[in-house]
């Protein structure tokens, strides 16, 4: 429980950061082609119709956040849980989402 307590804030922060970077740089672990119902590894161009990367971004973020959490564990062992990290970083990412997607509202 003590380990989870220390890892959960780091996981939340890392997930949000890796997710938004994945969206911006398109680091999808896989691609879905909804019109032909086919999956592909990593980022693929359209085979037929639109492509969907959201599922791939989620998996990239989840795996990345687990890795970051594990890597920071030695540093966190001797420190109290950094709860603030788990909500301030995602909050900043949420605000940045409005900025990054402003183009849709300015056309």
């Amino acid at each position: 429980m003590n380990m989870i307590e220390k890892l959960a804030p780091v996981f939340a922060a890392a997930f949000a950061v890796i997710y938004i970077v994945s969206v911006e740089l398109n680091w999808a672990l896989f691609t879905y082609h909804p019109k032909i119902r086919e999956w592909g590894w990593l980022v693929e161009p359209s085979r037929n119709g639109p492509t969907m990367y959201w599922y791939g971004w989620l998996v990239t973020s989840a795996l990345g956040a687990v890795a970051v959490s594990m890597l920071t564990l030695p540093v966190l062992k001797s420190r109290p849980p950094q709860y603030w990290l788990g909500w301030i970083v995602p909050l900043i990412v949420m605000v940045s989402v409005f900025y990054l997607f402003r183009g849709f509202f300015l056309r």
Partner: protein, 153 residues
């Protein structure tokens, strides 16, 4: 099938909206007496909502993920042809918020399970953030579902 899943997605979202809003109000503005509707609404044991909210968030997000391809192929194309870019953008933002919300769930579970003074501000913040995400997503989803009526298309 997509219509059935969309309705189920919407109904479960209503349950989630109720649960997370009730919890957020009770944690931000608690009350000790239960006299009257407003006080009784604020005086609930907010901790009992945690597991239900987590389960509902995950199920609603999963169902949203299942019906998402239908939106991407048919609805988004329609919206772009109708030049309703703000509607498309709102859905894009909803999609990102849901993902961030999924990443917040372990911390949400933790801060409610271990009520320590150090985690009190995190408990309030995470609950309010999830509440905002659910309200934003619900309103965007609802508007998009009824967009032809809203815009007279």
């Amino acid at each position: 099938m997509a219509t059935f899943l969309l309705i189920l997605h919407g109904l479960l979202a209503v349950a989630l909206l109720g649960g997370i809003t009730h919890q957020a109000v009770a944690v931000v503005w608690p009350s000790r007496n239960k006299v009257g509707f407003a006080n009784a609404y604020r005086a609930v044991s907010s901790r009992v909502y945690v597991n239900a909210n987590i389960a509902l968030f995950m199920v609603v997000a999963f169902l949203g993920g299942v019906i998402y391809p239908t939106y991407r192929v048919w609805i988004r194309t329609y919206l772009e042809n109708a030049r309703l870019f703000s509607a498309v953008g709102s859905f894009e933002i909803k999609e990102q918020f849901i993902a961030i919300g999924l990443g917040l769930l372990p911390l949400y579970w933790l801060v409610w399970r271990r009520p320590e003074p150090a985690g009190q501000s995190a408990k309030i913040a995470v609950t309010l953030m999830l509440c905002f995400i659910v309200w934003f997503s619900f309103i965007v989803g609802h508007v998009l579902n009824n967009i032809r009526g809203f815009f007279g298309l």
